[in-house]
């Protein structure tokens, strides 16, 4: 085993990390001779707990960072998911399959599903999109920002309503990437 026995500091660092990450609910760790298992209260502080990250039992003492978010094509990008809003409750996390990518709002503004009122929507659930296709518009101060598909695939979820205010980092759509 390449692993050294953990000392108390290492354990504490892991535990601290769990404490800081607002969305870990359970953690199982086998580490050399050490087994550590932690659960946290649901819905105590902060945002709704995220889905369990616990992956392979061994080897990964600290879970990998959340699956990379899709980079929207618009000017501003939101690479890190925001620590979900405590209040709006609108930007909770979304569970994704391995081949799915999440498109988040790159800025605060108003979400439009179609190029103009009454026109057909850019995309619908089940529809195919090519990489770079316009998915929706986020308007901020009369500036219409086209949000483009980060990858080709099928739209599996639309998480917002037409005309809705979206906050920075809010999940808007999910695309299942072509195999």
């Amino acid at each position: 085993m390449p692993l050294n026995p953990p000392d108390i500091k290492e354990l504490k660092a892991i535990i601290d990390w769990v404490n800081l990450s607002e969305d870990v609910r359970e953690l199982t760790l086998k580490y050399g001779d050490v087994e550590l298992f932690i659960t946290r209260n649901e819905g105590t502080r902060g945002p709704a707990a995220a889905p369990v990250p616990t992956p392979a039992p061994v080897a990964q003492p600290v879970p990998a960072p959340p699956a990379p978010a899709a980079l929207p094509a618009a000017a501003a990008s939101a690479p890190e998911p925001p620590a979900a809003a405590n209040t709006g409750g609108s930007s909770g996390d979304v569970s994704l399959a391995a081949d799915e990518v999440l498109v988040r709002a790159p800025m605060v503004g108003t979400y439009y599903a179609a190029p103009k009122p009454g026109a057909p929507a850019f995309v619908e659930v089940g529809g195919r999109v090519e990489a770079g296709a316009v998915l929706c518009i986020v308007e901020v101060m009369k500036l219409m920002n086209n949000i483009e598909a980060p990858a080709a695939g099928v739209v599996t979820q639309i998480l917002v309503e037409n005309n809705q205010t979206v906050e920075y980092g809010q999940p808007m759509l999910v695309i299942r990437r072509d195999a």
Partner: protein, 467 residues
């Protein structure tokens, strides 16, 4: 005639965001707080009626991003934006953007912000309003002969600054008339060589000064003052402790100071809350206008504590088109208030900022103690913003009582897990010099210098304390 505000977007964070949320809630105004990813879950976000994430932790993409803030305000349909202090609060372009988008900006008109933000123009306005300014040249002087004549009028010691200089470069203090010609020749020649511009500013060099400012409020018609604040206890131009009233002013100077502040506001057509900053020369017992802050200030609570007047509510009412119903006679200063700005900084390591998690916070309580803070047990101070974690404001029937109450409350306050300046505040407030009221802007630096040689233990422990 505009309508009363129904909803306000608060374009700030930390304790001042919470301060405005509280005022809104007490007025029945819906409060919307914008926040960056660095502030998710913070107290103002939790306590506001609504909160909206506008960007990542970096201020240029969130709290200093006019588009994101105005965009959120428009998307949510609020009536007004309160900018707090710092960030965009004195940004004339931001205020103008609000105006053009039909949002009421809780502050003065954008052109007033612009004019008072230009130091030379502000000084000229002050002179027109008959407000004393630091004796010196009216703008830059390009000719040697003119400079010489101005310098002789101003008196000694005086300070000569190259117009094109800055950051301490191209500055010289002239102590007596004997070296004046020589120094002036030298600095103008240096400026010519260094900056390609020989012109200079000349002003009286003040060595023993206090920082005293006057709080004003105006609805555009009625302009009232709410007495002064004394902010002389500073460290590297950062205010540490503010109090109201000033411990040194005679009633004549106090009245003249207030009259100057009101005259300046009327001259510029000021509306909303504002602060006129002055230096007070301990030697001449004279005051001079320095600048105006066209926003609410960190230290506004000391004025609230002695006048009983809620300044943020007045700001919101004025922005909602209400006229002031107060008269100057109704504004009465009672007792004395002292504010300590508690920073997450380590005084023993050169006041290095000290972000981290506050394991446990217990606020001090009881009579005359006010806490304005966004921290709570378990709060992690983000590393992206300033280090102030809260303000402790103590009121007393007189300055002595305010001092004793401040010391008691500082001892009582518990902030575990992060080093703060609370113990240092205790040391300063308990010092003989502070108690005497007789000090100048060098006081804190002098205290720190003296501290290197004498261990601070004795002053840290208050009499009668067991700790």
């Amino acid at each position: 005639m505009p309508e009363k505000l129904k909803s306000v977007l608060i374009a700030n964070r930390g304790e001042i965001a919470l301060r405005v949320v509280r005022a809104c809630q007490e007025l029945g105004i819906r409060s919307v707080v914008v926040y960056s990813e660095g502030d998710a879950g913070s107290l103002p976000v939790k306590l506001a009626d609504q909160a909206i994430c506008i960007g990542p932790a970096q201020v240029n993409q969130s709290y200093r991003n006019p588009q994101a803030i105005v965009g959120a305000a428009l998307a949510l349909g609020v009536d007004a934006i309160h900018p707090g202090y710092g960030f965009l609060s004195e940004n004339a372009d931001f205020a103008a953007l609000c105006e053009s988008e039909g949002l009421r900006f809780v502050g003065p008109a954008s052109d007033v912000i612009r004019r008072m933000g230009d130091k030379i123009e502000a000084t000229e306005i002050a002179r027109r309003a008959g407000v004393p300014t630091v004796p010196g040249s009216l703008g830059a002087v390009t000719e040697f002969s003119e400079a010489l004549s101005v310098a002789r009028d101003v008196g000694f010691p005086l300070l000569i600054k190259a117009s094109a200089g800055g950051g301490g470069r191209g500055m010289r203090v002239v102590e007596t008339a004997e070296t004046l010609e020589e120094d002036l020749t030298a600095i103008m020649a240096e400026a010519e060589v260094a900056f390609g511009d020989p012109s200079v500013y000349i002003e009286r060099y003040l060595t023993d000064i206090r920082h005293i400012e006057v709080q004003v409020i105006s609805d555009g018609e009625t302009t009232l003052h709410l007495g002064e604040r004394d902010c002389t206890a500073q460290r590297r131009n950062q205010k540490l402790i503010e109090e109201s009233p000033s411990p040194v002013l005679t009633s004549e100077v106090r009245e003249a100071l207030a009259a100057s502040a009101v005259a300046l506001c009327r001259e510029v057509g000021y509306r909303n809350a504002g602060t006129i900053e002055f230096v007070y020369d301990n030697i001449e017992r004279a005051y001079y206008f320095i600048e105006m802050n066209t926003r609410i200030q960190v230290e506004h609570p000391v004025t609230e504590m002695v006048t009983g007047i809620d300044l943020i509510k007045l700001q919101l009412k004025i922005a909602g088109g209400e006229a002031l119903t107060l008269t100057q006679e109704q504004i009465v200063v009672r007792g004395h208030a002292i504010e300590c700005r508690i920073n997450a900084e380590d005084p023993e390591r050169g006041f290095a900022p000290n972000p981290g998690t506050i394991a446990r916070f217990r606020a001090p309580g009881g009579f005359g103690v006010r806490i304005d803070t966004h921290i709570e047990s378990g709060y992690t101070i983000p590393p992206f913003y300033d280090s102030m974690v809260g303000k402790l404001i103590c009121w007393g029937a007189d300055r002595d009582e305010a001092i004793e109450r401040t010391l008691r409350a500082l001892r009582e306050m518990e902030i575990d897990g992060v080093t703060t300046t609370a113990a240092f505040h205790q040391e300063i407030v308990a010092s003989e010099r502070f108690r005497s009221g007789e000090f100048n802007t060098a006081f804190v630096a002098d205290h720190l210098a003296a501290r290197v040689s004498t261990p601070p233990v004795a002053t840290l422990v208050a009499p009668g304390s067991k700790e």
